[in-house]
């Protein structure tokens, strides 16, 4: 999966969690939890959804690497490469 595909999947899954979010206006380098006003439960659901869709099992120690849209896309692209 390349970065664009990873980003598309991430936006789709985050959109399921925060359907009111406008991803066109989100700062891709900003903290997702702050940008989307999501909490740890939402974030865990996001990680769970990525696991189900891609098989990538993100350990808790890597959560911070997915803190931003750019970071999450890079991480997912790398793990599915």
């Amino acid at each position: 999966m390349n970065k664009d595909d990873a980003r598309k999947l991430i936006v789709e899954e985050l959109g399921n969690i925060a359907p009111e979010a406008d991803f066109d206006t989100i700062d891709a380098g900003a903290d997702l939890m702050e940008e989307l006003d999501i909490d740890s439960l939402d974030f865990l659901n996001f990680i769970t959804a990525l696991h189900k869709k891609t098989g990538v099992n993100v350990p808790e120690s890597d959560y911070r690497k997915l803190a931003t849209l750019d970071g999450a896309a890079a991480y997912l692209a790398e793990k599915t490469d």
Binding site: N16, P19, E20, D37, L41, L44, N45, N57
Partner: protein, 376 residues
């Protein structure tokens, strides 16, 4: 004959709109069945029934907004239980008439999506839901309509009014006292990390599972923190521990649906229920018992960096427990300064029911429980 009435889903609810009947005349009903969907300030609530019988005459049309306690339907083969009939219930003089076309709820949809679909006369059955679990969300309806109206979500202004009324009443009527204690979270954090490490994400626990369970077990040990206060009859402790979990609604607003029998749940089951409850709270898909049964509330703002949270009691409950963020702080350990992960736990309790001494023992027990997370 049993009369099924518009339930009170919290101290802040005065009326509800009947969105849909889930059972029809002649249908058998049993305790726990969802028989209707009611629109409240907290979203579309699935209302359960607590008797066995057969759905009889339905007294209120869908779309009608009626006060709490209004008879909604007759349940044949079941007896009226005085304890379940609100004394303030007032039978309407005539069948309430429906307001404009009731929204379709055959498909799972957010209240905002249903509202817009009804306004635009769009059938939900024709839409593909893109929300969690296939729920139709507002953007699905907007796309179908071809417009770009901003998302309204739950009716947050009404929710804010309801919160304001309940909290003003609480602050006016309940003599709160407040306590706090610092809890060393090293044991809980370590145990959680080790427990989660081999698990897939869907099986992982969050710290909230530990704090909720600890609060529930402490409420079991100190029943003066768990129950309801009625000015006329005084305090009635609850046999069951149903923890109201404060769930923030994005964009503003707050609901505190209950996790039933929290003290008896294993951590995995508790976590599953927490995930389910939070998701449904944000979709506006809660059940009536979840809004009405809470016996004590737990709130946490730790993720937002808040160190100490002093809550306002949700009447008629008598206590609310708050958990703050875990921060690395210098503390004295064995006469030396050590850096430890510390969380502040707070208690706001009703002084008509308990004193600070008891509240302190409650918090101390929460602390002790979190030092042995493997036993929770």
């Amino acid at each position: 004959m049993y009369i099924f009435r518009m339930p009170s889903l919290g101290a802040d609810m005065e009326a509800g709109a009947l969105v849909e009947w889930e059972k029809h005349p002649g249908d058998p009903v049993k305790r726990g069945d969802i028989v209707a969907v009611v629109e409240t300030d907290k979203g579309a609530i699935e209302v359960e029934i607590f008797v066995d019988g057969v759905m009889g005459k339905q007294l209120v049309e869908t779309g009608a907004k009626v006060p709490v306690g209004t008879p909604l339907a007759e349940i044949e083969g079941a007896e009226e239980d005085a304890a379940t009939a609100p004394p303030e219930a007032t039978a309407p003089s005539a069948v309430p008439k429906a307001e404009p076309a009731p929204p379709s709820t055959q498909r799972r949809a957010s209240p905002a999506a249903r509202k817009l679909a009804a306004e635009k006369e769009i059938s939900l059955d024709a839409l593909k839901g893109t929300g969690p679990g296939g729920v139709i969300v507002l953007k699905d309806v907007e796309q179908a309509e071809g417009e770009t109206a901003p998302r309204a979500g739950l009716d947050l202004s009404k929710m804010r009014e309801a919160i304001a009324a309940a909290m003003a009443r609480s602050k006016r009527d309940i003599p709160h006292y407040y306590l706090s204690t610092e809890i060393d979270m090293a044991a809980a954090s370590d145990w959680l990390s080790k427990t989660n490490a081999p698990r897939t994400p869907d099986k992982r626990l969050l710290p909230a599972a530990l704090t909720l369970k600890a609060a529930a077990l402490a409420a079991r040990k100190y029943p003066a923190m768990n129950g309801f206060y009625d000015p006329a009859t005084g305090f009635a402790p609850s046999e069951d521990i149903h923890i109201g979990v404060a769930v923030a609604i994005r964009g503003g607003g707050l609901v505190s649906p209950a996790i039933h029998n929290c003290d008896k749940l294993g951590l995995d089951d508790l976590m599953d229920k927490l995930r389910d409850l939070a998701a449904r709270a944000r979709e506006g898909r809660l059940r009536s018992s979840e809004l009405s049964d809470g016996t004590i509330t737990v709130s946490s703002l730790g993720e937002r960096g808040v160190e100490s949270l002093y809550g306002i009691i949700y009447p008629p409950q008598v206590a609310i427990v708050g958990f703050g963020t875990v921060t690395q702080r210098p503390v004295a350990v064995d006469d030396k300064v050590a850096i430890r992960p510390i969380m502040t736990a707070t208690l706001a309790a009703d002084h008509r029911v308990s004193d600070g001494h008891l509240g302190a023992r409650f918090l101390k027990h929460v602390n002790a429980l979190l030092q042995e997370p493997e036993k929770l």
